[in-house]
């Protein structure tokens, strides 16, 4: 199955499991996580559009680069707090590369590819394992 942002819908999160959530806090977490999934779709679209405009050289246009960094930075932070470490790490590594903090060895294009791969895996999981996510939203403490 080819996974695209459009096929990975937040409503695939198990509604039955969500209904079992007892507190408004847990419901809020479910809602926020669903919004996060939608947001990843928007971010992915933004990143893809920017890549097309950048024509293979992410560092060439300062304004486009700034937009890309902003999008990737937000994705890294949000994925982290929602518990998606792989996306967060891939986005963070890309962000540091785009900011040229981790040196010139990291190729931004390959890191962009890696981030898109992580997002694809994420959406694939959203189709096949949505229930697990809902259970994961229970925050300890």
């Amino acid at each position: 199955m080819t996974v695209t942002p459009e096929t990975a819908r937040p409503e695939l999160l198990s509604p039955e499991t969500a209904a079992d959530m007892e507190t408004s806090f847990q419901k809020k977490m479910v809602e926020l996580r669903a919004r996060f999934i939608l947001r990843t779709q928007a971010d992915a679209t933004t990143i893809r559009t920017l890549r097309e405009q950048m024509a293979g050289n992410p560092l060439a246009d300062p304004e486009l680069l700034k937009q890309l960094i902003r999008t990737v930075h937000g994705l890294a932070g949000a994925a982290g707090v929602f518990g998606f470490a792989q996306i967060s790490n891939a986005a963070h590594k890309l962000e540091m590369s785009l900011r040229r903090i981790d040196g010139v060895d990291d190729d931004p294009n390959s890191l962009l590819d890696a981030l898109e791969t992580e997002l694809n895996l994420f959406w694939l999981k959203s189709v096949s394992e949505g229930e697990t996510w809902v259970v994961d939203t229970r925050i300890s403490g």
């Binding site: 890294a76 790490n89 403490g141």
Partner: protein, 404 residues
Amino acid sequence: MAKATTLPEKTLVVEDHELVRSFLASWLTERGHNVRPCGQEDLDQLDHLGRHDLVILDLCLGDSDGLEVLQRLASHKFAGDIVLISAFSDSVIETARNIGMDFGLKIVGALRKPLMLEQLDAVLDTPKRPRPHYPHKPVEVITLAMALASRRIAFHYQPILDARTLDILSIEMLARLVSPSGLVGSVYPVLPGASTEDLHNLARCAISATDDLRKVLIASGLGPLPVSINVPSSFVRRCHLFSALEEAALPVTLEITEQDPFEDFNEARLTATSAILKGVRLSLDDFGVANSNVDRFMRMPFNELKVDRSFVSGCADDPFRAAVCRSAAELARLRGAVSVAEGVETEADFDYLRSIGFDRVQGYFFSRPLPTAALVSWISSHRGLAWPPAAVARGAAAAREIAL
């Protein structure tokens, strides 16, 4: 569930990502916080905070950055707690934390993204000690010269211990300023404006005071102990040093401080070497800071390398500080010098320093600087093994077994 801790009156979540902001707001609300989400467009909220409020601040805020927020909070003399979060490296976060503290802000935590909620929980659950209320007192204007002339300089003593056996090897003499009412405080406020001559006089005063200390130690049945005395680099000249050392009643280690460069390096080297040949020990104090650097250590025959407390404190948990300490210990070994860690405040740091081969340790974990009578009491109980605490004693016992 909300925790049974003292909560801030309100908690401002300053974060540019709307979803992260909402997430943190919900999470904190669940814990009983009165949350005010604050995006880039709401930064005016920063101007209306009180001393019982909490700010959770993302250092990366899109077009602006967290340091601007810290400056803004400082301009309003914000006295509440601040927790920093950032995706940048630990060194960036730590530096931002130090900048904030230099602004006079109270940074109670600095966390790296991806944010671990357990870490945030731990920071927020740390018991807050009530701030002591000091009645306003007029600040006394006094110089080092005035303090010396009016005999308002006293000395406190901090033991320096063998890192393996915990035997007392020497005592550092630390100058204290005595107020007209008899209160004893740090001498640091009068040092920045002091002249070179005043600093030399302070060193002479310390050397002279060894006579009193010697008498007390002998009268108490403890026997003489070597002392360490701080002297500025400019004191290491033949015309200053040798006449002053004639007053020394105990074996002396001169700790050359980091503030000033040698006025004449060749003369300083000649004088220092000559002093060593006469039996004086020479220590490079505050290693790693200002003029106390590798170059100085390499070019002068120091007997001792004393690592600055800023690298020692927290070395067990901080890889960078740990690396500095390891390097310093190795440098000392390569030069045949003794390595000393000052500012040891925790058992974890002590264990680490001992594991990497530090020779001597000094700090609040063992004893704070003490007035004479308290020093005598401390040495007596230390030698009688009423001290140290069990954990340290176990470590020392194990070390002795290894040594045997």
